[in-house]
């Protein structure tokens, strides 16, 4: 005998019963849209970028999570995946691209190098991209496997799901509408 977990109760939308109306919180709806269409800015700087590419390819298929639209223009992207060694020579360029990304934006530090400088304790390497830009998710590994990147992406989705940005940013507007 195996113990079975209780069935999760889904408040699934049933068009036959409920018609064409869904009722939810605005924040919840926005978060749902945001987290399922994260467009990555692939900041591929070294070997980790190979795993990033593998994650995008068919075997691991990052599009299952809505993040397959790699944008090479910072103005169209939501999440910067810093995958690789950030040298001092490159550091300010990364920062500049980050600054060009429109809000809301998130950052994943993929691999040991992006998180902490990795094995490069040297004069030439920035000791973690979090010294320049805020990082939401750190992924360990050298390089992390694609599964690890997907796990990181799912964690980021959870994090986005818990945001209440609209409530905070547009409080006056909401109160006016209410």
């Amino acid at each position: 005998m195996t113990a079975t977990a209780p069935e999760p109760v889904h408040a699934a939308y049933d068009s036959k019963i409920e018609g064409n109306i869904v009722i939810t919180k605005l924040d919840a709806a926005i978060n749902w849209m945001r987290k399922n269409s994260l467009w990555p800015m692939p900041m591929g700087l070294a070997c980790c970028a190979i795993e990033l590419m593998a994650t995008g390819a068919s075997r691991y298929d990052i599009s299952r999570f809505g993040a397959e639209v790699f944008r090479f223009s910072p103005r169209q992207s939501d999440v910067m995946i810093v995958s690789g060694t950030v040298t001092y020579k490159m550091a300010l360029a990364v920062k500049r691209i980050w600054d060009q990304m429109p809000e809301p934006k998130w950052c994943i530090a993929m691999g040991a190098c992006a998180s902490s400088g990795g094995m490069f304790r040297s004069y030439a390497t920035l000791q973690g991209i979090d010294r320049l830009i805020p990082v939401d998710v750190y992924i360990s590994g050298c390089p992390p496997r694609p599964e690890a990147l997907l796990e990181g992406l799912m964690r980021l989705q959870k994090k986005i799901d818990a945001e209440h940005s609209l409530m905070e940013q547009k409080r006056e507007l909401i109160e006016e509408l209410a």
């Binding site: 001092y88 020579k89 300010l92 094995m119 304790r121 040297s122 004069y123 030439a124 000791q127 010294r131």
Partner: protein, 190 residues
């Protein structure tokens, strides 16, 4: 002619300018005074058919005089021989460029300049190649700490000091046995 005979020929031709030669594991090295190094390299290219300049590197014999040493690795596709040419360089002395003999020397010499701070006379484009223009140090010199030094060039780049606690990637070349030589946590004086 094999490399051994070429070394002999060079010794005869350049006489006193040759400071020594060595053969190890089938590799031939010839030392030459800095004044004659360009002449000798040109002879190697023109007469001895060393048409391929494999690499240029430099050594820092810190505390010794002369402090630096240039190393040229030559190879000939016609005869498949390899020759290494070395020449000692004092601090603040410029080395004649060999870009007019092998154009590929351009970037090699820029790298030597960037990392070691040796300048080259007659080089067409004496800029840094790895670090950015304005970076104040030459990182491969022995007196430059492994962790780096702080520097700041607004809008271009900055550098910091890397934490080296536990220094997991410090090798000890020349130590007895692999266990001591391998990169691992080591205490070392600064």
């Amino acid at each position: 002619m094999n490399a051994q005979q070429m070394v002999e020929a060079l010794k005869q031709k350049f006489g006193d300018a040759v400071t020594g030669s060595k053969e190890q594991c089938g590799e031939h090295t010839i030392g030459v005074k800095l004044e004659s190094v360009k002449q000798l390299l040109k002879y190697c290219h023109d007469e001895l058919n060393f048409d391929y300049l494999v690499d240029i590197s430099s050594l820092d014999h810190f505390h010794a005089e002369p402090r630096f040493e240039m190393v040229y690795e030559l190879y000939g596709y016609g005869h498949h021989q390899h020759l290494r040419v070395k020449s000692l360089v004092s601090e603040d002395v410029s080395v004649p460029t060999v870009t007019d003999i092998w154009p590929t020397a351009n970037w090699h010499e820029r790298e030597v300049y960037d990392m070691m701070g040796i300048t080259f006379d007659g080089h067409p484009d004496m800029r840094r190649i790895l670090m950015w223009e304005g970076y104040p140090f030459h990182p491969l010199r022995k007196d430059f700490p492994l962790a780096g030094k702080e520097s700041e060039l607004p809008e271009v780049a900055f550098t910091g000091i890397a934490p080296l606690e536990g220094g997991p990637f410090v090798t000890s070349p020349g130590a007895c046995g692999t266990v001591d030589a391998e990169p691992r946590a080591k205490r070392f004086e600064t």
